[in-house]
C-alpha cells in the first residue's frame, strides 16, 4: 500500500477514468442530489416548522431516511430502471432529504417564541414572518443539517461504482478487483479531501449567509 497511484501524473491527465474526471462525475452526483433533496425537503421542513402541523413526520423522517440502506436502494433502482444517472440520484437524494427536512423544522421550532410573536405584532404577514424572521434565524441550524447531508453524500456516492457507474468509487471497486491497494488508497484519500474541502466551502457560505446579528460577529 503506497501513494504511487495517487502521485502518478498519468492518472491526472483528464482522460477517461483519470482522477480529475472521476472527481467531476463524483461532484456531479453529489451536487445534483443535494440540489434535488433540498428543493424537495426545504419547503416541507419550513412549512412544518412554521405551522407546527405534521411535526411527527419531521421528527421521524430523520431516522427513517437513515435506516434505508443506500446500496440496496441503488441496486433496486438499477434493477427496475436500468443503468443511468436516475437510480444514483434517487438513492442519494433519499440521504439528503431527512437531515435537511429535520433541521429546517428544528431550526424554526426552537426559535424564541417572543421573536415570532413580535414579528406578528408589528404587522408582518405569515409569509413575511417566515421569510424575514424564521428562515434567517433558523439558518445556523439549517446549514449544519445541510453540511452533514453533504458530508454523507460525498462519502456514500462511492457506491455508484458498485453498479458500474462512475464517481470516485471506481478507484475503490476497480482497485479492489485487481488487488491494487494503492488505487484504493488514492480513492479513499481523494474522497476524504473532497469532503473536507466541501465542508470548508459550506462553512464559509454559512458565515456569509447567516446574519451578523445571529453569529455575534
Amino acid at each position: 500500500m503506497n501513494l504511487s497511484y495517487l502521485l502518478d501524473p498519468a492518472h491526472w491527465d483528464f482522460s477517461d477514468g483519470s482522477i480529475p474526471m472521476l472527481i467531476v462525475s463524483h461532484l456531479w452526483y453529489v451536487l445534483l442530489s443535494l440540489a434535488i433533496g433540498t428543493v424537495v425537503a426545504l419547503p416541507i421542513g419550513l412549512w412544518i416548522g412554521h405551522t407546527g402541523r405534521g411535526s411527527f413526520l419531521a421528527i421521524n423522517a430523520g431516522n427513517a431516511g437513515r435506516s434505508l440502506p443506500t446500496l440496496g436502494l441503488l441496486m433496486l433502482m438499477v434493477t427496475l430502471l436500468g443503468l443511468g444517472l436516475t437510480p444514483v440520484l434517487i438513492a442519494l437524494t433519499v440521504l439528503v432529504i431527512p437531515p435537511v427536512l429535520t433541521s429546517a423544522y428544528a431550526g424554526i421550532r426552537n426559535l424564541d417564541h417572543r421573536v415570532v410573536d413580535a414579528a406578528k405584532g408589528v404587522g408582518m404577514r405569515p409569509w413575511q414572518v417566515l421569510t424575514k424572521v424564521e428562515l434567517p434565524m433558523a439558518l445556523p441550524v439549517l446549514m449544519s443539517g445541510f453540511r452533514s447531508a453533504a458530508l454523507q453524500v460525498v462519502a456514500t456516492a462511492t457506491v455508484a461504482a458498485a453498479v458500474g457507474l462512475n464517481g470516485l468509487g471506481r478507484l475503490l471497486i476497480d482497485g479492489l478487483a485487481v488487488n491494487d491497494y494503492s488505487r484504493v488508497l488514492a480513492g479513499a484519500i481523494v474522497v476524504a479531501v473532497l469532503a473536507v474541502v466541501l465542508d470548508l466551502i459550506l462553512a464559509l457560505a454559512q458565515r456569509w449567509v447567516v446574519s451578523p446579528g445571529l453569529s455575534k460577529r
Binding site: 431516522n63 443506500t70 441496486m75 462519502a155 471497486i173 484504493v184
Partner: protein
C-alpha cells in the same frame, strides 16, 4: 415475494443474524470507547476542537474504503467479519465521542457546583451526576449511530461480508428484484426495532425526564 421467502428462508435468516451481529457489536464497543474519549474532550477544553475535527474526518472516509483497507492494516483476511466490526466501531466512536462531549458540556454548571459542594469527588461526580444528566443527549446520539450502522453493514456485501447486503448483491447480479426488496424491508424493520428499543430503554433509565415533563 412470499415464494422467494419460503424458498430461501434459511439464507435470509442467516443473513439477518449476521447483520444483527455486525451492526450491534460495534455500537456496544463504540459506546464504551466513546465515553472516556468524550470525557477527555471536556476535561481538557483544548482537546475539544481537535476531537471534533478528527471525528468529522473519520466519518467522511467512505465505508467501502475502510472495509477494504482494514485487512491490510489489521492483517485479517478480506472475508473476515472482523473488518466490518472494526470499521463500524470507528464510525460509532467518531459519532458518539462528540455527542458525549457535547452532552457533558451542556450539563448546567450549577448542578456540577452543587454536587462538588455536597462532597462529590471528580469520578463519582461524573458517574453519579454528570453522566446521568447528559444521558438524553448521549441516547439521541446512540440512536443515530445504531440506525446508521444497520444501514451501513450492507455495504460490506461488496467485499463479501454484509449480512442482508448479500441479498442486494445477489438480486443485482441475477437481475431479480425480490431478494433486494426483502433485504431492504428487513434492514429498515431491524433499524426501527433497534431504535424503539433504545427509546424505551432510555425512558426506563431516565425516569426523572417524565416527571420534569409532567411538572412543566
Amino acid at each position: 415475494m412470499t415464494t422467494y421467502l419460503s424458498n430461501n428462508w434459511d439464507t435470509v435468516l442467516t443473513a439477518l443474524e449476521q447483520h444483527i451481529w455486525l451492526a450491534l457489536l460495534p455500537v456496544v464497543i463504540g459506546l464504551v470507547a466513546a465515553l472516556p474519549i468524550g470525557y477527555l474532550g471536556v476535561r481538557f477544553p483544548w482537546l475539544y476542537h481537535p476531537l471534533v475535527n478528527v471525528c468529522g474526518v473519520l466519518y467522511s472516509i467512505p465505508s467501502l474504503a475502510l472495509f477494504v483497507f482494514l485487512p491490510v492494516i489489521l492483517g485479517t483476511k478480506i472475508l473476515s467479519p472482523l473488518n466490518i466490526v472494526v470499521a463500524l466501531t470507528i464510525y460509532t466512536v467518531a459519532l458518539l465521542a462528540r455527542t458525549v462531549a457535547d452532552g457533558l458540556k451542556a450539563v448546567d454548571p450549577l448542578v456540577v457546583q452543587s454536587a462538588t459542594a455536597m462532597g462529590y469527588r471528580r469520578f463519582r461526580r461524573l458517574t453519579d451526576v454528570e453522566l446521568p444528566v447528559a444521558l438524553p443527549v448521549i441516547l439521541a446520539g446512540l440512536r443515530v449511530a445504531t440506525v446508521a450502522n444497520i444501514s451501513l453493514v450492507s455495504v460490506g456485501a461488496l467485499i463479501g461480508v454484509g449480512g442482508l447486503g448479500q441479498l442486494f448483491t445477489r438480486g443485482f447480479q441475477l437481475f431479480y428484484v425480490e431478494p433486494i426488496v426483502v433485504g431492504i424491508v428487513l434492514s429498515v424493520l431491524l433499524a426501527g426495532l433497534a431504535d424503539l428499543i433504545i427509546v424505551l430503554l432510555g425512558r426506563l433509565i431516565t425516569p426523572w425526564i417524565r416527571f420534569q415533563e409532567a411538572a412543566s
